[in-house]
C-alpha cells in the first residue's frame, strides 16, 4: 500500500453552536479504491461528501490531496480533480441544454473555458453515441434532446458519464441510484461498476442498499454518529453479511 490519494485527518464538521456532525474523522483513500459508504440517516455520510467536495467548511483537521492540504480550497477549484453524482436527477444536468451539450460542458472540467467555438463536431457526436450506448438505456438515441425531457434514469446515467468524462482522481457517488425504480437502478449500478473497474476509478459510493454495498467495491465503511465504526477491505469485506452490518446501525 503506497501513499493515499486523499487523506482526511481528524476532520471535524460543526453546525450551529457545537453540534458535531463529523467527529474527528480519519480516512485514507488509496488509488483504485471503490469504497461503499453505509450508515443511518444523520450518520454524516452526506456531510462527509460535502466536506471532501468543499461544499461545507470543516472546523478543524486536514483534508490532504497528495499530502497537500486542500481544506481551504473552494469547491470549484476542487472540481479539477473531484467529480460528483448527486441523488436527485435534476441536480446533475442542465435541463434546457441537450445531452450532447451537457457532455461537452463536462469535457471542460478542469480546463479553461475560452472564447472559442465549443466544437460540437460530427466526430464528437459519434464518440458520444458510443459512450452513451454503454449505459444501455437508449441515451444514445437522444443526444440532441434537452435533458429536461429525459427520464430520471437517463439523466442519472448522463450525470454519471459527465462526472467521469474527464477522469477524476476521486468520484463521489451520493446515492446516485436511489431515486430510480429497481430495474433502472440495477442497470445504472452495473454500468457504474463496469466503468469504475474498467477505468480504474477511485470512488466513494453512499448507498442504503446493503446488497449493493456488499456486492460492489473493494472496501466498505460504515459511519455512525460522525465516526467511521467499520472499515473493511478485500476478503474481510467479502466475508461480511447483512446481519453483521445491521449491528453497526444502532444509533
Amino acid at each position: 500500500m503506497t501513499e493515499p490519494v486523499f487523506s482526511l485527518k481528524n476532520v471535524v464538521v460543526t453546525v450551529g453552536e457545537n453540534t458535531e456532525i463529523l467527529k474527528s474523522l480519519n480516512l485514507d483513500i488509496f488509488d483504485g479504491d471503490f469504497i461503499t459508504v453505509l450508515g443511518t440517516n444523520g450518520a454524516g455520510k452526506s456531510t462527509l461528501f460535502n466536506a471532501i467536495a468543499g461544499n461545507l467548511p470543516i472546523s478543524t483537521g486536514q483534508i490532504l490531496h497528495h499530502n497537500h492540504n486542500i481544506a481551504n480550497e473552494s469547491a470549484v477549484t476542487r472540481t479539477n480533480y473531484i467529480a460528483r453524482v448527486f441523488q436527485d436527477p435534476k441536480m446533475g444536468t442542465a435541463p434546457r441544454m441537450t445531452v450532447a451539450e451537457n457532455l461537452l460542458l463536462a469535457e471542460k472540467r478542469g480546463a479553461k473555458r475560452r472564447l472559442r467555438s465549443r466544437g460540437l463536431t460530427k466526430e464528437k457526436l459519434n464518440e458520444y453515441a458510443t459512450i452513451t450506448k454503454t449505459m444501455g438505456n437508449n441515451l444514445d438515441t437522444r443526444l440532441q434532446t434537452a435533458t429536461g425531457d429525459l427520464s430520471g434514469g437517463q439523466r442519472q446515467a448522463l450525470s454519471f458519464l459527465m462526472a467521469t468524462r474527464v477522469k477524476p482522481e476521486l468520484l463521489l457517488l451520493d446515492e446516485h441510484t436511489a431515486a430510480l425504480d429497481p430495474k433502472t437502478s440495477e442497470q445504472l449500478m452495473l454500468a457504474t461498476n463496469q466503468q469504475v473497474t474498467e477505468n480504474h476509478l477511485t470512488a466513494l459510493m453512499i448507498t442504503h442498499n446493503l446488497a449493493d454495498a456488499l456486492e460492489y467495491g473493494n472496501r466498505l465503511i460504515i459511519l455512525n454518529a460522525g465516526q467511521i465504526v467499520l472499515d473493511v477491505r478485500g476478503e474481510d469485506k467479502d466475508m461480511l453479511t447483512e446481519e453483521q452490518i445491521l449491528k453497526y446501525f444502532i444509533a
Partner: protein, 299 residues
C-alpha cells in the same frame, strides 16, 4: 404609411434592449432592474459626450462601457455582497439617477445641431423614418449575430449552464459568480448602448427616460415567445426582435384608438400583462381546440 415605418424603426432600435435583457431574464433566469438605470446612463453618457464635441461613434461605445460598469456593480453586490438580485438592481438603478444628473449637469440635454449616429449624409437622403429602420437593422443584426456566436463558444456554453443549473455548473468547475457578473455586464452594456442610440434618434437625453424600460424590454421577449412558441436558442433571439416590432405596432394601434402618449406606460404594462397571461387564457378558453375545430372539415 410613414407612421408604420416609424414604428418598425422604433421596434428595431428598441430590440437591442429586448435582446440584452434576454441574457439575464431568460438565460441567467433572474429579473435585473439595473436596466432602468443603465438605459438613461448610456443615453446621458453619449449625449453629454457628443455635446462636448466627442465623435458620436466613440460616445456610443463609451455608453456601452459605462453600462457594463453598472452591471459589474450589480453583479458584485449580488454575488459577493449576497444582496438579492432584485434589490441589488434597484440599488444600482437608484444610484445611477444621481450619476446621470452629474453626467448631464441638468435633467435634459438636447443634441440640437450636433452630429449623431443619424447625421450621416446618406441617411438624410432617405425618406422619413427610414434612417432609424436602416440604423436599427444594422445594429441589431450585428449584436444578434455576435451573441449567437458568443453563445456557441465554450465560454458562452458555460454562461448558459450557469443560468440553467448553477449547482451542476459548479460541480463541473464553472465559476458561476464570474459568469453571472459577465452576463450582467454584457446585458447592461448593451442596454446602455441602446440608450445611447435611442437618445441620438430622439435628439435628446432625459433623466426620466429610464422609467418603464424593463417593461418594454420584457414585452418584446414575451410577445416573441407567445407568437412563436417553442424555438431554439438562436431563433428565440430573432423572435425577440420580431416581438419588439410587434410591440411597437400594437402601441401604434392603441394610440390610433385615441389614447395619448401620456398613457404609454399604462399601455405598456397592460400589453405585457396581457401577453404573459395569454397562454393561461388560451388554455382556459380552449381557444386552440376551438380554432382547430373551426378549420377542420365537418364529419
Amino acid at each position: 404609411m410613414s407612421i408604420i415605418v416609424s414604428s418598425i424603426g422604433q421596434g428595431l432600435l428598441w430590440a437591442v434592449l429586448g435582446v440584452a435583457l434576454f441574457l439575464t431574464f431568460r438565460i441567467l433566469n433572474f429579473p435585473d432592474m439595473t436596466v432602468e438605470g443603465s438605459f438613461p446612463l448610456g443615453a446621458a453618457t453619449a449625449v453629454a459626450m457628443i455635446a462636448h464635441g466627442v465623435n458620436p461613434y466613440l460616445a456610443t461605445i463609451s455608453a456601452f462601457i459605462v453600462g457594463a460598469i453598472a452591471g459589474l456593480i450589480t453583479g458584485l453586490l449580488y454575488t459577493k455582497g449576497k444582496i438579492p438580485i432584485l434589490l441589488a438592481g434597484i440599488l444600482v438603478m437608484t444610484a445611477s439617477l444621481s450619476i446621470n444628473l452629474r453626467i448631464m449637469g441638468s435633467a435634459n440635454i438636447s443634441l440640437l445641431n450636433q452630429k449623431s449616429l443619424f447625421s450621416a449624409a446618406f441617411l438624410r437622403h432617405l425618406p422619413k423614418y427610414f434612417d432609424s429602420v436602416l440604423v436599427g437593422s444594422v445594429i441589431i443584426a450585428i449584436i444578434t449575430i455576435a451573441l449567437i456566436f458568443f453563445l456557441q463558444t465554450e465560454l458562452g456554453q458555460a454562461f448558459i449552464a450557469t443560468g440553467d443549473n448553477p449547482n451542476m455548473a459548479q460541480s463541473i468547475g464553472i465559476k458561476t459568480d464570474r459568469m453571472t457578473i459577465m452576463g450582467l455586464m454584457l446585458s447592461n452594456g448593451l442596454i446602455a448602448f441602446g440608450g445611447a442610440v435611442i437618445a441620438q434618434n430622439n435628439g435628446y437625453a432625459d433623466i426620466n427616460m429610464g422609467i418603464g424600460i424593463i417593461v418594454i424590454a420584457l414585452a418584446s421577449i414575451i410577445i416573441g415567445e407567445v407568437v412563436f412558441g417553442e424555438l431554439t436558442l438562436n431563433e428565440r433571439l430573432v423572435a425577440v426582435i420580431v416581438g419588439s416590432i410587434l410591440y411597437r405596432l400594437v402601441l401604434l394601434a392603441v394610440l390610433q384608438l385615441g389614447f395619448s402618449t401620456n398613457d404609454l406606460n399604462l399601455i405598456s404594462a397592460f400589453v405585457l400583462a396581457l401577453a404573459m397571461m395569454l397562454p393561461q387564457i388560451r388554455h382556459a378558453l380552449k381557444l386552440d381546440t376551438m380554432l382547430k375545430k373551426g378549420v377542420a372539415p365537418h364529419d
